[in-house]
Symmetry: C2
Subunit: 350 residues, 2 copies
């Protein structure tokens, strides 16, 4: 425990440096605007030492593509909800991330996908858990939010709703990737969940075994915030396990008065800590700014609970915080000044 | 909207009166102690005008039985978790409430049960959604919390876990009651959810159509808080709809540092408002006392969102708050002085 705390302290120190918006200037050359977007592609054991240049370049390119897709939507004057969907769908369709194509396998050799979305203007929300045949779970979460009287749907019922509403349906095998299948086999051989497997697997498949929940938060020209999260869950998951990604308040939260937040990490701890809503609550009730609140919740509270992971967050002023207490988190943003930043590693990397 | 606000004001005024602990003294004669328990059996359109004396007596007797079962556990020096389970299981087994036996029907004519529990000492939590064959969903939620690495399980996976752990399994028809079956038929004839049906059904089946999520919060001799909630959801529910009862932070939350909370009402609004955690956050970050925090969240925030329902809540000092913005809420407590209070109605009743 004291080792873990020491570890956290190092990352806290790092985070304070890295989270200052624009400290790593990789400017997109875009002009100043009143919109912003932040994305993540998962947090975990991501180390430069075990990442090839090619893999890193592939992640950077895909994160940039997702950021630009979301930012283009915002630049056209469309909503933060549209931008969140656009950015997340790029990542859902990419085998690099644990969402949509490239989702991890359950113990039964299937893919069960979870997603949620929240509109900061209305605090309306939508979520789906355990869907197997909907190409874009984040799109279904939005349909649940906007067209149904409900917030959350699960399993085959959610799929029936998707079909009724004309969403693209696919075979479960649509989400197959060899890499994730191999990860399942290794996990099953060791009969443990991927969260424990990672450390063993790193030499074989650099930094990407359990990692890859995706998320986006955005601020549009109308001053409205939105947040969304999409995931395949945990490799070798059993018993219909539901993580934090489809839980409003845990994995996703948005309220114009406070912030938009999307989380990634060991979901159980994010549920117990009601992490996304806890950040908003500190802003709301303790009067903290976004960076202070997000930092306190991830570096102190989540760590105290024993949880690992991170969040991306954004408020109406355009402030951005991306704290995490793992070795790395795939992340990036385009801020209100048009600066684009993409980062992967913790203290040792950029 | 202005009518609704006026309505809420009346209930706020009422609530301030009714929620003062012990104002209705129905003393159990127990001696002073350092334990307390609060329960609810659902909030909604509960009016004295449409309730028979017999029905009212049945509810009062069952609420008293549940309170005494939980309080006995606490008096023996056992944990608040044990007390929450004992109280909730009495109500799960009673056809009077929408949990366990007496659960409402889905659109497919089945029962799908949700429950969650949280330990205020460790902030560990367990939840199950959409289980059909587990006699006591709250017992399964506890097993998930204590024996699995997960917080939430759903559907057939959760049932498999229950079976592996030796919980009592039953046929889905075990939960059947004629009253709920008739409610489904009426709802389907009108093709609307029960939340809309209630107003129509009141003359036929006094005040009990959609009502009846059950919950308990307790404080044990060790000073530990716990909270639990169990429900059958919404009559005629479709698409694997999940309400707030199995969502940690929405329907259930417990933290020794703040309070134990269990909610009941129109679940979608409790999820969007992250209602249970919001009460805890106001205590934690705004420094409010329990009664002020619970009142503000239910009477102001929930109302602003357009939601209806209530919560029971308890803190380590033994303070109790039971605000609701509906006509009534089945509720009761035994406080630290051993006073037992059971209440059903809003302003017009006791």
């Amino acid at each position: 425990m004291s080792l873990k705390r020491a570890f956290l302290s190092i990352f806290t120190a790092f985070w304070v440096l890295s989270s200052v918006v624009g400290c790593t200037a990789d400017s997109s050359g875009a002009s100043e605007s009143d919109v912003a977007i932040v994305i993540h592609g998962g947090a975990g054991t991501i180390l430069k030492a075990t990442m090839t240049d090619e893999t890193e370049a592939a992640y950077r390119a895909k994160l940039e593509e997702a950021l630009r897709a979301g930012h283009d939507v915002l630049s056209e004057g469309r909503s933060s909800l549209d931008a969140v969907i656009a950015a997340i769908q790029i990542m859902e369709d990419s085998p690099l991330f644990n969402s949509g194509v490239g989702a991890v396998f359950t113990s039964e050799g299937t893919h069960e996908l979870d997603a949620s979305i929240m509109d900061g203007a209305t605090r309306n929300a939508g979520a789906v858990a355990g869907v197997k045949t909907v190409r874009s779970p984040i799109a279904l979460a939005r349909i649940v939010m906007e067209k149904s009287p409900h917030v959350m749907m699960s399993g085959s019922g959610a799929e029936a709703y998707a079909e009724e509403n004309g969403l693209e349906m696919v075979e479960n095998s649509f989400f197959y990737t060899e890499r994730r299948f191999n990860a399942l086999k290794r996990a099953q051989e060791r009969e443990m969940s991927t969260l424990q497997v990672d450390a063993f697997d790193l030499p074989l498949s650099p930094g990407a075994e359990k990692i890859g929940t995706v998320g986006a938060v955005a601020l549009d020209r109308q001053g409205n915030l939105a947040a969304g999260t999409s995931t395949g869950g945990m490799t070798n998951k059993k018993f219909g396990r539901v993580g934090d990604a489809p839980i409003i308040g845990a994995g996703t939260y948005a309220d114009n008065r406070t912030a938009a937040i999307s989380a990634t990490g060991h979901g159980e701890y994010f549920i117990r800590g009601v992490i996304a809503h806890d950040i908003a609550s500190r802003i709301d009730y303790a009067g903290e700014d976004l960076v202070t609140a997000a930092n306190a919740v991830i570096m102190d509270k989540l760590g105290e609970l024993g949880g690992t992971g991170g969040v991306i967050s954004l408020d109406r002023s355009g402030a951005i915080a991306m704290p995490f207490n793992t070795e790395g988190m795939y992340r990036g943003y385009i801020d209100m000044d048009g600066n684009m930043v993409i980062q992967i590693y913790g203290p040792s990397g950029e």
